[in-house]
Structures are given as structure tokens and as C-alpha cells.
Assembly symmetry: C2
Homo-oligomer: 340 residues x 2
């Protein structure tokens, strides 16, 4: 192993807005040696998440910001090359916060999960059978608690989380309305993700399109954007509506807090609930979500899309690319083959 | 009865903002005759609520607006003078939506409740043992679910609802912080309503005063105001905070919806919940709240204040007076003696 090189994507400056390629650098270091209790993981796929904008921000957030000079924090899926931990063996496929790098020496007890062979590509362990599917599952079912017949509106409806939310809601007997940007994503929402209606926020008049798509109002809103899209949805919520706050993609800077129409009156007169949600709080229950999602995915009741870039050199621009809306489906970076 | 006159306060024009005396008129009509199933009630006390601003507004709300030319909607407590309903007898004290008028002929099944003699003044049936106490009870215990040790912040802390919320939270083992306006109300909060700290929003620097009063952050916020007071509280909420939206007193006009700092990010990173609440949804459970509150009030574990005006001619200005902050305690209008 000692002749191998470990390429690492490190954060070199702190963005005030969306992180760009210039905020990162790729360095070459030695492959780390492992100590007792650790495993050496060869990363195969790196994940790219909208939430990464928050992870590198110095503004108060739900986790410590990635250190300047530190490896970019990321979920990855990789193969165990060496193990000094009793639960893992050479060849196991594992996921965890192993960072944007080729190799990671990590404590066995920080592995998120061992990926069993389920007939689906291992890349799904980072998307529809990973953080995105689990986010959709708990954010919809636990926080918003949809009932059959409810109208469920989803923002970033064609995204890795949104597309799963829409299909889960459909499987639970709801009318599903997706809001997305661009003709191609509208088509995906309708043809692949089974939304009953899809709205192009870049093209359609949102108020009118929502009224038409939600003739009985909005019972559940799964919010990945905040901003003007959410302002429009809030106008049409029903009595007893539940709003899951999962992301705020359309707001690029929270310092100072931007102004928007106050939500309190709409929540009050409709006895509605708006609730923030972080999937990491459900870490103990990930297995439950994955067990429920796996057969739905295998039987094509839930479709997913992956948008895979090749090579670690694609990582520095990958977050910015996500916010440009370049991707169609879960954005991943493949840095080695499974046979590696 | 036919020689008696029924004075009625009617809505003559629709305010765009806070209803003033000029929006009402007092007319004299005949005392109504009752039909089968009805009772004739002689109102003794009329209630005055902040929510009345919404009841007369044409802007979408939780109830139909009071009709122009119609008697002002109001909870009252009164005495049954005649009954053609089997559940009520002459002399019973009852509460219900009997309006700002001397006499009301109402269907027996629309009586809210019969007030049993509990050793407390019957006026309490409109305040701490009526809508205000019940609002405090369910809005705090059911919606916000305080735990011992939580810091509970209350706006309009010396008001009819707020003062009860603070004392209920205290009885449940919480640290209580009241926000109110003016030295006299601060004194009331501290000396009579047992708040651990009281903040004068008109005088104190809110951010600093809140930080000092809530060294461990805010776990529960019982919001009666919205506006800048709530904006300040939102900055200091804890992970898992619960916000009960009970009123929006500081916003005089919701058309168009005023702008404020967006709450979504604070709710998201703190996995916090903001929930609208209307006490009328708990109508089936009022008895439960009243049964719980009565001994606390009788044993002086919960203090209350009433601010009683005499004469129905005080009614037209009474809502505006409430918003001017003239009252110290629950504002009622006495229009007849119990012996009437």
C-alpha cells in the first residue's frame, strides 16, 4: 500500500455563498496506516449534497464547519482493504463520513453501515438507499405524516430527495405535485417519478399553476428550497397542513437573515405546523427506512436517477454545479471501480 | 319582559386595521321571544378579546366575519331568564357566543357550558376559567409540551392568556420569562404571575435582555404577538424548541402579508416546530382544562387579574383600548348584576 497515493480534496478558503471550485484544492498524501480498531477504506463513490454548502459555512449551523485545510466532509461508499476491527473484513462494502479522498483510515465504530448485496448498484447506498432515501422517508412519514387523499407538494421535486418523497407519498395514497426547474425535469417528474402534476417554477406562474395543480389546497409541503417557491405554497395550505423543512436551497446567504412574507398568520389560522428536520437525528433508525425502501426500489415502485461524474478532479466544482442545476438525479463522483 | 329594551352593539363599518369605537353603533331593540329548544339569556359580562380584530376583518380568517349591521360576536356569561330547553332552568349561569347585547335568544345546544358554583366570581368564566385559561392550558401543554427545566418565554406575558401560560409553565417545573410593555406590567409579571424574569419590550434591548433572562436558550415560546418581539426570540431558540402561535397582536394588517426575517433556517438547524393553535378546536375538551385549572386558581397557585368596565356603552371602544394596552388583566364589560 505504501506506494499508493491518497488524493484528498481540501477546503482552502471559506465561501460566503455557494462553494466554488476555487475554494478547494486537491493534494496528494500517503495512504494512512491503520491502528487497532480501525479499518482502511478505499472510497469508490463520493457524494455531493446541497447541505455541503452549510457544512463549509462559518455561520451557525447544525454541525461544526469543515476546517480550513481539512478534507471535505462527505458521505462515501467504499471497500474495506484492511481491517483491525472485528465487525469488518477485507472486501466489505461500507458507507460513512469518509470524506472526499481516495483512502480513509477510520474507527470501525464510525462506519455508518455495511452494505449487503441486494441486487442493486452499490452507488444507491449513497442516494436512494442512503442519505437521500432515508431523508425522504423520515421527513415525509415521520414529520409530515401524510394521510391517503392528502395533496403533497414537493420542492426540488426531481432531486435525489424530492423524487423519493413524491413517490413515497404516491405509495401512501396521496395526490403529488412536484415543483422543479426546466422542461426536462418537469418531464422526469411526470414520466419517471409519477407526480400527478409538475410545475416549472422558472416558466409557470407559480400561484396559478399551484392553484390548478392543487384544487383542494395543500395538506403537506415538503420544503427543500424556502424562498419565493415556499412563499407561493404557503398561500395555499389547508387547515391542519404539515410543512417539513428539509432544506433552504433557494437562499444563498443567511447572514443577515433575508426577509420574506411572515408565515405566522397562515400557520395560525390554518392550525398548521412547520417543522425543521435533520436526518442525522434518525441515525438509529436508518435500517428501518432502508428495509422499507429496498423492495419498493427493486420492484420499480420507486424510481431513482443517478448522475455520476468520473474522477476526483470533478469534486471541487461539484457543489456549485448542483446549485446551477446541472445534474439530473443524485450527483455522485466515481473515483474507483468496485473491483479496485 | 315585553317592556324591556335590548341594547345591542352592532358593527356598522368594516375596519381595515384595529376596530375603533366609530366602527360600532348601539341600537335598541325588543327583547326577543324564545321558541322551542331555546333559552333567553340576560348577559351579565361581555368579553373583549384581541381576536375580535380578526372576527370583524374581511381578510381570510378562521371564521366568517361578523356581518355589517350584525351584533358584535362575543363570548358572554349570563343568566337564564326563560328556558324551553330541558338542560337549562331559569337562574342557570351559562357562557356562550351570545354577543355584545343585553339579551340573547339562543338554541340550548349552542350554550358553551353551564357555570357551576365553584366559589370563584362568575366573571372568571370568561377569563381564567374561560377562553383565556383554556387557551393557555391547551396551547402550552398540548401544543408546546413543556418539560421540567425548560425555559418558556411568553409574549403579552401579563395578559389574560399570557399570565396563565407563565404560571402553568411554572407549575410544570419550567423557568419562565415574560415579555410585556411598561413598568407596571413588568412588576405584575414578577410579583403576581411568578415569572423568573420579565422584560419590558418598550424599554429594554430585547436581544440583550433575552440573552440574560434565558442563559440556556429558549425551549418553548408561547407567541401572542408575532413581529419584532418574536423575531428576537427566534434568534435564541434551542434544538428541539416548540413555538405555539396563539396570536399576532403586534401585526395590525395582514393584507398584504408584512415582511419579516425568514424563520425557516432557525427552525431547520434547530429541528424546531412552529405550530398554529386555535382554542375552538379543543371545544370538546374545555371541561378537562377547567377541571384542572379550578383548584390551582382556588388555591392561589394561579393568579389572575380582571379589568372590568361598567356599562355596554364602553363596548365600542373596548377593542381599540386593548390594543392601546390600557388594560391590566382580562378586559370585561359588566352590563348587569348577578342578581338582575
Amino acid at each position: 500500500m505504501s506506494t499508493q497515493i491518497n488524493r484528498q480534496v481540501i477546503l482552502t478558503s471559506r465561501p460566503t455563498d455557494i462553494p466554488q471550485a476555487e475554494h478547494f484544492d486537491i493534494i496528494e498524501t500517503a495512504v494512512p496506516a491503520i491502528t487497532e480498531g480501525q479499518v482502511l477504506v478505499r472510497n469508490l463513490y463520493l457524494s455531493v449534497e446541497p447541505a455541503m454548502r452549510g457544512w463549509v459555512s462559518a455561520v451557525a449551523n447544525y454541525s461544526e464547519p469543515v476546517a480550513l485545510g481539512g478534507v471535505m466532509r462527505s458521505l462515501t461508499v467504499g471497500k474495506v482493504l484492511e481491517s483491525r476491527h472485528p465487525d469488518y473484513q477485507c472486501g466489505d462494502i461500507v458507507t460513512g463520513m469518509f470524506g472526499w479522498q481516495d483512502y480513509a483510515a477510520i474507527a470501525g465504530n464510525t462506519v455508518q453501515r455495511k452494505v449487503e448485496d441486494n441486487g442493486l448498484p452499490i452507488s444507491t447506498a449513497l442516494g436512494v438507499l442512503g442519505i437521500n432515501g432515508v431523508t425522504a422517508y423520515f421527513g415525509l412519514l415521520d414529520i409530515a405524516q401524510p394521510k391517503p387523499g392528502d395533496t403533497v407538494v414537493v420542492s426540488t421535486a426531481a432531486g435525489a430527495v424530492g423524487s423519493c418523497v413524491g413517490q413515497l407519498a404516491k405509495l401512501h395514497g396521496c395526490r403529488t405535485v412536484g415543483i422543479t426547474g426546466g422542461t426536462e425535469k418537469v418531464r422526469l417528474c411526470q414520466e419517471e417519478f409519477q407526480y400527478d402534476a409538475a410545475i416549472d417554477y422558472r416558466h409557470d406562474n407559480l400561484d396559478e399553476a399551484l392553484a390548478k395543480a392543487c384544487p383542494n389546497g395543500v395538506d403537506v409541503y415538503f420544503d427543500n428550497t424556502c424562498g419565493p417557491i415556499s412563499d407561493a405554497v404557503m398561500k395555499q395550505i389547508n387547515v391542519g397542513a404539515r410543512i417539513t423543512l428539509c432544506g433552504t436551497a433557494s437562499i444563498t446567504n443567511w447572514d443577515p437573515i433575508p426577509l420574506g412574507p411572515r408565515v405566522q398568520r397562515q400557520l395560525l389560522v390554518n392550525r398548521a405546523r412547520m417543522q425543521g428536520f435533520l436526518v442525522f437525528d434518525y441515525a438509529e433508525r436508518y435500517g428501518e427506512a432502508i428495509a422499507a425502501l429496498t423492495p419498493w426500489i427493486r420492484d420499480n415502485n420507486i424510481s431513482y436517477r443517478e448522475d455520476i461524474l468520473d474522477g476526483i478532479d470533478k469534486a471541487p466544482d461539484a457543489i456549485a454545479s448542483l446549485y446551477r442545476g446541472d445534474n439530473l438525479g443524485k450527483r455522485l463522483i466515481r473515483i474507483a471501480n468496485e473491483a479496485a
